[in-house]
């Protein structure tokens, strides 16, 4: 498909719309994005959409980059830029605004209480993310053991994280996990 201005504007606008709904990360609006782009507009196929998420998760960098890949499948590099910038612009502006607001009022009791109250919840969210990633449907004992070992090594040692990732890739390629 040749990227018409209408398509690019559609990607950008859809990104803007979904941005402020993406609490927990861009991945949380993936189902809505899929519904609109794949099912309604037919701008890309289901397989392309799914592979965008898979590639962004496997490659280094923020998983939110899957939006750029989705845009790329629809309209090339311009599409990648349109969807990525669209989805980042409103949330980034909000994040900067709120963070500055909170920083200048760091001594306010409400701000300090927010930080203190959210800390255990934030931590549990990190743990839940790790747990969900570690336990896809039908996961075996070997990958779980690998996850546990990686968690312990990352926690208790200063071993470079890339060694751990590399070891995981090697064990996987050899068919051991």
């Amino acid at each position: 498909m040749s990227p018409t201005l209408a398509v690019l504007a559609g990607l950008f606008g859809h990104g803007l719309l979904l941005s402020l709904l993406s609490i927990g990360g861009a991945i949380t609006v993936a189902p809505e994005m899929q519904r609109w782009l794949v099912t309604e507009q037919h701008w890309l196929g289901d397989a392309e959409f799914t592979s965008s998420i898979a590639v962004a998760q496997a490659a280094p960098g923020p998983n939110a980059l899957f939006t750029a890949l989705v845009g790329y499948h629809v309209a090339g590099l311009a599409g990648a830029a349109a969807l990525l910038i669209g989805i980042l612009l409103p949330s980034s502006a909000l994040a900067l605004g709120v963070s500055r607001w909170g920083h200048t009022r760091a001594d306010w009791r409400s701000v300090r209480a927010f930080k203190a109250g959210m800390a255990p919840i934030t931590l549990a969210l990190i743990a839940a993310t790790g747990w969900l990633l570690a336990t896809p449907p039908g996961v075996g004992a070997a990958p779980l053991a690998l996850t546990l070992a990686a968690a312990l090594l990352a926690w208790r040692t200063r071993l470079h994280l890339l060694w751990l990732i590399g070891a995981g890739a090697l064990l996987g390629a050899l068919g051991l996990v």
């Binding site: 590099l77 909000l94 779980l144 995981g168």
Partner: protein, 199 residues
């Protein structure tokens, strides 16, 4: 082999270029998510943030919409160099990985079906999940000084973990349902602390 100390940050970035380079470096190491590497680099290698500061910024980055690690990059950059710093950090987080995923997407179609590649990706995924769990364990020590007190910290943590990981409730419901009571409880605890301090 010692666990990292929870000391005060001893360094700050010298320039926007240093921010850009640091975030590019950590993003490129972030297979399966950037969070674990971000904590390692920002708190332990560069020492720009204490674990407690990291957790505070992440808390805000998580309740706000947008990719958590991108929000975090914006906040760290903004803290040192304002809008320029925020954009430098975000650009570092995105630019090189973007080029990489675009290249990888061409390769993916031809390699995804090979069992060794699929196996390697599965192994990396299992490790990446472990790194995230390890990050949670590491940051856990900074909760010891929470004004909420240990029982409340454990209760809110367990409730949040179960809601998301076990019951799979949507985040937009879980965050206000747990966040607002935790906020209120912390407010009361801080008020009591202040009352004790002024007496």
């Amino acid at each position: 082999m010692t666990p990292p100390p929870a000391s005060a940050p001893t360094a700050r970035p010298a320039s926007c270029t240093e921010l850009f380079v640091a975030f590019t470096g950590l993003a490129l190491q972030g297979f399966g998510g950037v969070l674990a590497v971000a904590q390692r680099v920002l708190c332990e290698e560069r020492r720009w943030l204490t674990p407690a500061e990291f957790l505070e910024m992440l808390a805000l980055a998580q309740v706000l919409p947008g990719p958590n690690v991108c929000n975090l990059a914006l906040m760290v950059g903004d803290r040192y160099f304002g809008l320029r710093g925020a954009l430098a950090a975000l650009a570092g987080m995105l630019a090189a990985p973007l080029a990489l995923v675009l290249a990888a997407t061409a390769l993916y179609a031809s390699f995804a079906d090979q069992p060794r590649v699929a196996g390697a990706l599965r192994g990396m995924g299992a490790v990446a999940a472990g790194l995230i769990l390890g990050t949670a364990l590491k940051l856990g020590t900074s909760l010891r000084r929470s004004p909420l007190g240990l029982p409340a910290v454990l209760a809110f943590g367990a409730a949040c973990f179960a809601s998301i990981a076990v019951w799979r409730w949507p985040l937009v419901a879980v965050l206000p349902a747990l966040g607002l009571p935790a906020w209120a409880l912390a407010w009361r605890a801080l008020a009591r602390e202040a009352a004790r301090g002024s007496r």
